[in-house]
């Protein structure tokens, strides 16, 4: 059956054609008249910053949601998948960062899930399943026992199993969403080799990534998106690689000021509040592929917004969690106002005057079933209770009202459950939660994720105001216009290390992108 897929392919023929596709969400235009083509036997890079519309396009192609406007054709026929299953049946498989294998089942069971080969009495023919699996995974260079449970494989191996499964489903287009972000360097090389091999077999690959270096080496062509529109196509044209400056130019192509105005009032930073010296974390044997901090130095002053720019997997979130006592550190020192500290838990860090607005609001910050009031006061219960532990709801309400006005939180009543608020207002409640503690250092991780454009600017304004009150604000973000607009000073991170530092006025998206996404250690052609 694999042979069929190869003979059907006509190298160079357009396989997937997207023309004039738009996607509108309640008032927001996520995709605006986007077109692209993927040919059989080629690797197309889909490039763009966060929010450029890549994910929306992937969702449309994988059948998660329909486009508002535009045509898509696949293999010469109109393509309008009603579900991910539809897309798969048509021959398009999407491999997401969050892998979709069932960890408790074996490799063979995963590959044949729902279609196990049957033998006598219509019972599962385990021997045939094992043999077929061995053949299928050999195609992606895996030589592991088909009986291995998926949970004991590395992320890279799991990815290959998913690719193998896609091939066994006679997929003709494989879409890979940030496949290299969780891989080590040698694993990346292996994956790129397999991609080349698949390409030679006539499979089309759409490679969605932030990593410019890898993309420039492997892609035959690139389609760059920016703000939901086509921002230009690039071709390799027989060169060893696509020129990186050309990619960056198309990705960022507009002044940051077009999107976010830089809040006006700036205060001269005061004394040093937080210092981090040579911070390292150890590899957790239970999570061998997690990012490890590799000697991070950092300094934040009172009244300053320090922006940390880094891609997913750069170690930015790990740094925040280590300072906050949420994860163990192996070595290094942290000092707060000149005093060495060693928080063993978030409770310790909070008591010392550090606050963290985490990356994943829903999972790490919100109590969705509880009222706005409970969500607001949870980190500062001591402020609102007497020495017997009795809460004063009156004091809670008064304080919440103060912050409601200060942050312009739009809500019906303090008793309302927080999940009824928009993302922006939820985030403001989380910010108010920390303000109630009057922290010395506030770390905000992706503060405007899932926040609509209008509220984003408000959140930015709030962060600058907090700094003006003497708080040392550390803002982690992968949205460069945001980093540029809000920060006074910017550091970039990559692979658990700080790769650059500059005042915000001297920074540009191109400079930051180069420091965040480039890897000088694997820059040469294969």
């Amino acid at each position: 059956m694999l042979a069929d897929a190869v003979t059907q392919a006509h190298p160079g023929q357009p396989l997937l054609e997207v023309s004039g596709v738009s996607k509108h969400f309640a008032g927001v235009i996520a995709l605006n008249d986007v077109s692209l083509t993927v040919r059989s036997g080629e690797i197309l890079g889909l490039m763009g910053e966060n929010g450029a519309g890549k994910s929306t396009l992937l969702k449309i192609l994988s059948g998660v949601q329909p486009p508002t406007k535009g045509q898509i054709s696949f293999d010469g026929r109109p393509f309008a998948p009603a579900s991910p299953l539809d897309a798969k049946a048509a021959g398009i498989v999407t491999i997401y960062q969050e892998l979709s294998l069932i960890p408790t089942l074996t490799v063979a069971e995963n590959i044949f899930v729902g279609r196990a080969p049957l033998g006598a009495f219509r019972l599962i023919d385990w021997r045939r399943m094992r043999e077929e699996t061995r053949k299928i995974i050999a195609r992606v260079g895996l030589a592991i026992d088909p009986e291995t449970p998926v949970s004991s494989l590395s992320v890279a191996e799991q990815q290959l199993v998913e690719i193998a499964r896609a091939l066994s489903l006679e997929s003709r287009l494989i879409i890979m969403d940030e496949p290299t972000s969780a891989l080590t360097e040698s694993e990346v090389q292996r994956l790129l080799d397999i991609m080349r091999k698949l390409k030679a077999d006539g499979v089309a690959i759409m490679f969605v990534t932030h990593r410019l270096e890898e993309a420039s080496l492997i892609c035959d062509r690139m389609t760059v998106l920016r703000d939901g529109r086509n921002a230009g196509d690039l071709e390799r044209d027989g060169q060893a690689k696509i020129a990186i400056p050309a990619i960056i130019e198309r990705m960022v192509g507009r002044a940051a000021s077009d999107l976010y105005a830089r809040p006006a009032q700036r205060h001269a930073p005061g004394t040093v509040r937080l210092t981090v010296k040579n911070l390292r974390t150890i590899r957790d044997p239970e999570a061998p592929h997690a990012i490890v901090l590799d000697g991070v130095d950092l300094e934040v002053k009172a009244g300053e917004v320090l922006g940390i720019a880094g891609l997913v997997g750069s170690g930015r979130t790990e740094l925040a969690r280590a300072i906050f006592g949420a994860d163990r550190i192996a070595s290094g020192t942290i000092t707060l106002d000149g005093v060495p500290i060693a928080p063993q838990s978030p409770a310790d860090a909070i008591a010392l005057g550090i606050g963290l607005v985490p990356e994943d609001r829903k999972r790490q910050a919100l109590f969705t079933a509880l009222s706005i009031l409970s969500n607001f006061s949870i980190a500062a219960l001591g402020n609102f209770s007497n020495r017997f532990g009795a809460m004063s709801e009156k004091r809670e309400r008064t304080d919440l009202e103060t912050y409601r006005q200060m942050l312009s939180i739009r809500m019906a009543s303090p008793e309302q459950t927080i999940d009824g608020l928009s993302g922006g207002n939820q985030q403001k409640v989380v910010l108010a939660r920390w303000l109630a503690r009057d922290p010395k250092v506030l770390i905000v991780d992706e503060p405007t994720r899932g926040v609509d454009v209008g509220a984003k600017a408000e959140v930015h304004q709030i962060l600058v105001q907090l700094a003006a009150r003497g708080i040392a604000v550390v803002m982690i973000s992968s949205e460069l216009p945001e980093v540029l607009a809000v920060s006074d000073r910017i550091v970039t991170m990559r692979q658990g290390r700080i790769t650059g530092e500059m005042p915000a006025i001297e920074a540009s998206e191109a400079k930051l992108m180069a420091l965040m996404a480039l890897d000088e250690t694997r820059s040469t052609a294969p």
């Binding site: 969400f25 309640a26 008032g27 906050f324 949420a326 838990s345 978030p346 409770a347 860090a349 909070i350 008591a351 963290l356 985490p358 999972r363 790490q364 910050a365 919100l366 109590f367 969705t368 079933a369 509880l370 409970s374 006061s377 949870i378 980190a379 219960l381 001591g382 609102f384 209770s385 532990g389 009795a390 809460m391 709801e393 739009r410 809500m411 019906a412 009543s413 008793e415 309302q416 459950t417 999940d419 009824g420 608020l421 928009s422 207002n425 939660r433 609509d452």
Partner: protein, 348 residues
């Protein structure tokens, strides 16, 4: 739904919360009306007191179980724990394992009702602490730890008692199970309430206040609602988790004492199957097994609902075999009704 994104001022959730609170109550009232129509004597004050006395033992444990379930935990060991607390308490009360109904000799050798109460409650606290610690330190799920506890405590009970009951307590001790507290307002002395009912009512009010109006209560809801967010908000999640098992242990001990006092005997088989009645009461009362949602008032209503159902069926001469079938069905129906009301509220 997405059209609402621009308008943050949504009233829906509040309405849902209101109905969520009253769903079980509506169901309870409907049930009372049905039984009253079937038999006029159902609403007789004596019968009502009888129902209240019936629910007070499992009701006490259900109060503690509410804390546990609010943290998205479960305690399956409460029935066995009750037997164990009762047996240790009886040994203290009698000064030994003498199986005698004679009030004189055994009681004189014992340490009195107060020591017996302390023993019952103390054993419950320790048992709860041990289980809570196993859950948080050994990272074994509550279901498994307390399933183990279920057989461990029953085994310990049988070991202590050699399988038989310990009977015959002092009148002072028996007062806690069989006595009345007379609330005489002027000439009206008809409102004599059974002591177990008063204990249950006082405990329910205290629990309600703790959950609703204290720091600790807020923390319990937060841990149940989102343990990771609670940790990142500075709560000592493990301590709170241990504490809820200590609380349910305390109530198992208290319930054991009251039950022994009422029956004038500590039975090795006491409390068998109580865990199911207790969990049913909490769940019918609207507390979510996923944690973070629920209330003591709901639990009291849930306990009352089960009591009314058992009593009403008995009143109408439904055989105890059929009763079990009906109670099971009503449990499912009550929760389904609650779900239905909530989904209507969300749509409205």
């Amino acid at each position: 739904m997405s059209a609402i994104a621009s308008d943050d001022v949504k009233q829906g959730p509040n309405m849902a919360r209101l109905i969520m609170r009253f769903g079980p109550l509506i169901f309870l009232i409907a049930l009372i009306i049905v039984f009253a129509l079937m038999n006029g004597k159902f609403l007789n004050p004596n019968n009502i007191l009888n129902i209240m006395r019936q629910i007070s033992i499992t009701g006490l444990i259900a109060l503690g179980m509410t804390f546990v379930i609010l943290t998205s935990g479960i305690d399956l060991s409460v029935g066995s724990m009750l037997a164990f607390c009762g047996m240790v308490s009886a040994v203290v009360a009698k000064g030994g394992t003498a199986n005698t109904l004679s009030l004189g000799t055994g009681a004189q050798q014992g340490y009195g009702w107060f020591a017996a109460l302390l023993a019952a409650v103390g054993v419950g606290l320790i048992a709860g602490f041990v289980q809570g610690t196993a859950i948080t330190r050994l990272k074994v799920p509550p279901f498994v730890v307390t399933l183990g506890g279920l057989t461990i405590f029953r085994g310990l009970t049988l070991t202590v008692s050699s399988g038989g009951p310990i009977s015959g307590f002092t009148p002072e001790m028996r007062w806690f199970g069989t006595g009345y507290i007379d609330w005489s307002f002027g000439t009206l002395s008809a409102y004599a309430l059974p002591v177990p009912v008063v204990i249950f009512a006082v405990a329910a009010i205290i629990c309600h206040i703790v959950l609703r109006y204290t720091r600790y209560g807020r923390a319990v809801y937060a841990v149940g609602g989102n343990a990771e967010a609670a940790r990142l908000s500075g709560l000592r999640v493990d301590r709170i988790l241990v504490s809820v098992y200590v609380i349910v242990g305390f109530f198992a001990g208290l319930a054991a004492f009251v039950l022994s006092a009422r029956l004038n005997s500590a039975e090795a088989v006491a409390g068998g199957g109580y865990e199911l009645t207790v969990i049913s009461a909490v769940v019918i009362g609207g507390t979510s097994l996923f944690g973070g949602v629920g209330s003591i008032s709901g639990t009291v209503i849930g306990a009352a609902l089960i009591g009314v159902l058992q009593n009403g069926l008995q009143f109408n001469n439904v055989s105890s075999y059929t009763q079990q079938v009906v109670i099971g069905l009503i449990l499912i129906l009550a929760v389904a009704f609650d779900r239905w009301l909530k989904s209507r509220a969300r749509l409205g």
